[in-house]
Amino acid sequence: MTAILNVKNISKTYGTKGANAYTAIRNLSFTMEKGEFIGIMGPSGSGKTTLLNTIATLDSVTEGEIIIGGTSLSAMNEEQLSDFRSQQLGFIFQDFNLLENMSVFENIALPLSLRNTAVPRISATVQQASTLLGISGILEKFPAEISGGQKQRTAIARALVHNPALLLADEPTGALDSTNAAILMETLSDLNKEQKVSVLMVTHDPLSASYCSRLLFIKDGEIDQELHASNSREQFYKEILEVLAGTNERVIAGEAR
């Protein structure tokens, strides 16, 4: 197994040093193997979104290093980071972030046209991705004309269409009802198992988290606990709930810090 993501001793401090400074991540390290499906959980303000943003190259770290597919992020300038995002990363956001003024087809095709892929190739790849996600019938529609579940599938298709090294998902089920959320997580899980897509997902939802192969629990900017998937998803779900309950009890008991 090769490491797709290597996070080494990163820290992120906002504001100038002193009273106003706020440290969101402290000396955090972990490694992600190719084909893994990692979930990041933690209470609000624990630093999980900051962590995702730094891996997504949208935010820089104050200390430490992030290596994706052998490339260190800190060595790149703004333009190189843009190119890196468009080539190596795929994004799924809670609020879909589809471009409302473009059709589903155009939305999915965007990462390919950004690389100036030839039109026949674009058509074939978009068809393939949309068939995989079951949205090939709505390609000519606009985002305003389709359901939330369909929007999120479109977003996944767009995130996958250019074969990124790593798929980053920020609360992908956050805006979906439970049925659509379950369908979406099945899809992500299938993509992970069958297409060997590496997925890193931030989530609040224990049910969504139970689809992951490994979970990192973050608290106060540090990894508090790590959990590996057990035999069945149901079993894993129970374990997640126990960890969360434990965290809550600790918070109530006043030993959060």
């Binding site: 333009e79 843009s82 468009s86 589809l98 471009l99 155009e106 095709a109 046209s113 950004l114 058509s123």
Partner: protein
Amino acid sequence: MILKLSLEGLKRKQRDYFILFTGLIVSIAVFYMFLTLALNKEFITGNSVINHIQLVFIVGIVLLSVITFFYLYYTNAFLLSLRKKEFGMYELIGAKKKQIKQVFLLETMLIAAAALGAGIFLGALLSWLVSSLLAAQLNVEFIAFKVFYGPAAFWTMVYFLAVAYAVSFINNRKLAKASINDLLKAEVKHDPLPSKPKNSALMIFSGIVLLGIGYVALFFMEILRFIGLFAAPAATTLGTYLLFASLLPIIVRKWKRNKKMNFRGLNSFTLAQLSFRLNELKWVLATIAMLIALSAGAIAGGFAFKNNAVLSVDEERLYDAALYNPGDAEEEVLETIALEERLSYRFKMDEEFVYYVEDELAANPPLIVDWVSYETKRPGPFPDNLKIDEDGYQNLGDQWTMALETINPAFSTLGRHRIVSAETFEQVEAEEITIVLARSDKFSRYIEQWQELDRLQLQDGARLYIPMDLEYESLYSKYSTFESQYAFASGTFFMGFFLGLAFLTMMASILMFKILSGANSDIRRYDSLRKLGVRKKALEASISKEIFIVFLFPALLGLLHVFVGMRMFTFVIIDPYYRLWISLLIFLAIYGSYYFFTVHLYRKLVLPKG
């Protein structure tokens, strides 16, 4: 309390307010500049030419007021769009609609008042700049033109405060209708889907037909006269609106259909933006095309009128100077001019006749214009041996009558001419006068010299032997003819320039604000694209392209209107297309700077920082 909160909010969005503020100041400055010109009583009555065209000013003020109203309406809507979310929040925490309306009204009035101070100052500065530039260019002085003019400042203030009140009232009603939820979610509003074109083929067809009718009417204005005067603006305007409404969405759709183009880089996004933008802006763009035609036309018309003074005087008078008994001073001036031809004749004048020498005339016949064929030529031989009829008139023929007028312009209306032999001429008991005709390679190149020659000739009035009072009448020279025509043309030029400038800046500002007021909903889109890994440069280029096309369409059609429309002036101006490129350059400079300014501000508004 709400007021305090609101002021805090104002502080937080300083950058956006700065944009709004600059726009307002520009519009106030233009409005004021126009009013100083239109209301300056002493100036208008002191300039007979401008006095004649006051009606144009009134029409100009009405037009400018209407445009300013819409301008303020758009800026105010922009202001509201900036504050919606915040107002929704105040409502959420229990502020009453009435309180929020008051805050918004107060804010609008405060901004208007502050902008008025700065705007009038800038307006005075601009008036000074434009009037002194024009005065220098036209070689005239604007008598009694006051740069800071009380009534103009007063009416600018009254108008802007009244309109600010009115537009904030209208926008307040919109605010009142919106629910808290609408306000809170104002920034994540969905765009309407692009509507499918209805009857667009019919609309395009009738648009083209109407535009054709308008253009034909403009082209044959001289023949059509009254019908043309009515049909041209009506058909052209209607045709423009129809074409913008039907053709623009189709053009963008055609572009989008071209897959190779659409799926290249950010094109699909740029075209999608454009398609929404053009759909939303089509009426505004059509209006702007018409205003471009008006403003560029006014500037071009002014230029053509000014040039016409030179052209018409050149056509009327073939010799640039006719000098009576020129002395050393005159000769000195003549030496500085590249002369193409210099002719010299003698004449004598008694109580009855003006005498010329036959041989001198025959040896050097001057150039004349044949009034039938309009050809420039020299007169042929004398007719019938210059017989004298029973009434004492000498038969000179048309050509030589005209030649004598050319030779001796000041005397052409006095007495009767006699062309006589050299011997007879010697016997006439009168003083011999020499007259020198001078023709340069280009009259307009030596204006100062002609002016000096006129001055020298007038200095010694006695030398002219003209029985007229020079205190009241001017010298009948080519220069003096030119001067009076030029003064008239300059007035027209000044007016056309001012009017054109005012319209142009105003409508470019409207376009700018119309685009900027939609910027808020675009912020998210550009942020999504950035997250997807689109380079900042590519985002910037996409914005430049999109706004370029939005600016381009009205400019193209507007300028086409000008090209066709200028022909209309052929029956008053010899060459209406004279130096059209200067007007075009002025137009492009102003319009272009607005384009760059809009792109710059838009980028600042929508592109993620850092």
